[in-house]
Symmetry: D2
Subunit: 285 residues, 4 copies
């Protein structure tokens, strides 16, 4: 934890010799691999790997490592990146009135359970200002109504531009993002939806669940795409309910599932454990 | 377990005094209540209860108890029934080629974990005959194809008529029952669907789940109605999967969930723990 | 939720007619029962019940209800109490350095997910002062070392005396309470232990778990008695780990289990759902 | 599934270049790696890996592969083995009176969900003979009492010697194996214990659990060593119970956990996913 690492994430069409090439390269440089995961997708014949290298096992820095690795990457037509634990990701938080997911993430941030920076919190309500500001974080109150959506999202885009986030987390932010934001930050926006997707897409999923009489309720952490609640799923979980649970009970029970699933999904993303392939995720837990 | 009991199940519009009337009646008769559950549905203001009475605490039998209780039931406009543990329910089993649910139920039956009688097993394949017959149970092989559905289901109706089942269990029986059977045995047909309903209704739910990239797969035990996979849900459960699980792995992992959920749902039904109200169930676990 | 209720909790040796007597009494007074649970312990032949009565269905208040019910209670030798949702319980919180359980409970308190009052927070470290004080709650920093235990606990007793708590929650408070406090507040002190008891009693349970190589870690919410980690268990849960989880990972994963289990156990207690019988609990969920 | 593979399992003290050496060797031979897992134990600095190689990607057989790999293994002081999916493991089953684990394993065997051979079933009761023999498997009834243990285990040793098992599964076999058998088949005997170890070691764990008032019951699949219930844990799981569950209910609920955990643990072992290091397991799921 305390030791700096590089994370090499790559994907390419499979052929014999990829692992040999990567691991021989790293061994020749003296790189100590502390964690490694591989996955060969049998349907697409694509190969995916995540390798964690102890930074101090190399006599040079991340840029030099990138430069030396580039020819190998090119020869296998790899999609790849090398990230540095010394540079925590910047996470912009979008919330609404409900505090449970935001409070949970702020706890994990201030206790250093999760390692990230917060350039700011944006909300369409002012309710959470005092709590956020106690953390000495900027709070941007941006009200919106049916007539002001265009200007609202223009302001949000401007705020995000200034924040330069690596990740945008929708911590029970109840607005549907316009396609422009979705494509500006493709693969970087994480949402928590309060149902076990694909069941109960859209509004009021607990009401939909009560109507159907399900015996488990769930939450889904996923990347946001243009299509509502249809992006690649990072993580999901459920909790048991019974006939005596009212919708209020479902909301209460569900909140614990939502925050746990969002925190887990965000951790996977922050630690570069999630690779997106078509509309699915590979999660190297 | 070993002691005979009566189970009094009733539902009626709520008003003050129902429990008092029922429990005073039972106390006056000397009836020892060994288990009691109540539920007041706040939406419909209907009241539901299940009470288990030690048979030998009463000086007379079930029919006399029914006769004595009838006036109280009438005065509250109760829907009610009184069942006897001494008369195990008759369960007709319908299966296809897959053995996991059928094998599991036969184990629970022969080990007496679940208390029921089996008048026979019906299948549209002959694969499971030898296994079923080892249990000294009748096996009815009724093949079917797209052109013979009408005759097929006529034969099934005749077989069921002869079996006089209290319950029909579709133990991964892969045919859609015609409306006629659904209404002949309304509230008595239990199906196991291999998804977390309402996600992935219909055919090949594991393929649908793989396509969507979910992180949990599930199974749902429900009563069969005319509308496919839309009847009242008795029980559900899920199992975690990950990107490296193929559809074959999902099928394997799912089988364990299916048989557990079906056995649990059937147990609830056999023990008169399930009350159906509108399209939902009250399950007094 | 929004409507005031009375909760009648009682236990007595079983005999025919208890439910009849209680429910007839309530019906005669006009009391509307909105929730009812019964349990007959077959080993001890004791009967337990929890009944929730809508306060406004009665023409008088809680004291009058108590007075009218007392003769019935006496005739069955009942141990009983009647609580009022209009009078939230007072919960004294004891913590140490670790913030996860305390933060979680403060969230549930300020969001009104759980209904209780907090007369104050006591800690043997000053780390959490600013966070607690943001909630406008008193924070009592009471340092302790091996030589000052006697005075320390004398001060704690004095603080508690002034707080008049109904419940004392040890939210990862790392000191062992002296017998005097245990008996002063018997049945009122709730602890969260970071293992699946009775495995890994005492100090450093995650280290013990790592040493044994278990595949699940757990947490246990229990009432505190004189015997360390041996009091009646209110709730437990577990989370899956694997060989690649270090002790730091186990601590991180465990924290989520601890706070969930503590919050659940506290909710059961606050809602009078927990009855203690010998060294076990009956939890009417 | 259908395609033959080799599994290369190895462990050695960590140093830079192990993966490079192994993967370069395999790449040079033309070996297609379809699955790979690594683990570096930070405490002992030992490295563990499991690699699955498509058999038909190599121009020669398993023995030649072993011969060619041996020098690399020697140069890193590896403990290693290469197994072949074309040679299913031989599993001797030991049972007693209870049928649930044995029935479950026989189902998984006859449905080919798990790939193994069964040289025979040994039991100290004759109850399960007919069921086992329906599967056309040899059934060895070996009664035992307190006075005949020595001869009994001598006969068991002889039976096992004839069966030449790769694995011995104690499918709720209720006898404690003598040290001689434990050491003859060290690392090859798998037991299912009906508790969440290390809680409730030894006899009647459900009675111990009821006595302590736990809220979850569990089962543990582990390798058998000389010390009772203390061998390396392969897998564990739990199920929720409540105050109204009697010991009979716990036994019933527990059986489902036991058979699931045993089947999962056995699958891991059969697929060479379990590596034992000191008294712990690395399980490459």
């Amino acid at each position: 934890m305390s030791q700096d690492s590089y994370r090499l994430i790559l994907a390419c069409p499979d052929k014999v010799g990829i692992v040999a090439a990567v691991s021989t390269f790293l061994a020749n440089e003296g790189g100590l691999i502390t964690e490694a995961n591989h996955y060969l997708d049998p349907d697409s014949s694509w190969f995916f790997t995540r390798q964690v290298i102890a930074a101090d096992s190399l006599p040079y820095g991340a840029d030099e490592l990138r430069a030396r690795f580039a020819p190998i990457a090119a020869s296998f037509a790899m999609e790849w990146r090398l990230t540095e634990t010394a540079k925590p990701k910047r996470v912009a938080l979008l919330a609404s009135k409900q505090a449970h997911c935001l409070s949970d993430l702020l706890y994990r941030w201030r206790s250093k359970e999760l390692d990230f920076d917060i350039p700011g919190v944006i909300s369409n309500h002012d309710d959470l200002r005092s709590y956020v500001e106690w953390h000495q974080l900027p709070y941007h109150y941006e009200p919106v109504n049916a007539d002001t959506k265009a200007e609202h999202f223009a302001r949000i885009i401007a705020l995000l531009e200034a924040m330069k986030p690596d990740v945008i987390v929708l911590a029970r932010y109840m607005q549907i993002l316009p396609p422009e934001i979705c494509s500006l930050y493709a693969g970087q926006i994480i949402n928590i939806h309060h149902s076990f997707l694909p069941a109960f897409v859209g509004a009021r999923p607990y009401h939909q669940a009560a109507e159907r009489g399900v015996k488990l309720i769930g939450a889904t952490c996923h990347y946001v795409t243009d299509e509502l609640d249809a992006g690649p799923i990072i993580d999901q979980d459920v909790a048991r309910i019974s006939h005596h649970d009212s919708i209020d009970d479902m909301v209460r029970i569900g909140k614990d599932v939502e925050k746990t699933v969002l925190a887990r999904g965000l951790r996977y993303h922050l630690e570069d454990r999630v690779l997106v392939h078509e509309n699915k995720t590979i999660v190297f837990e």
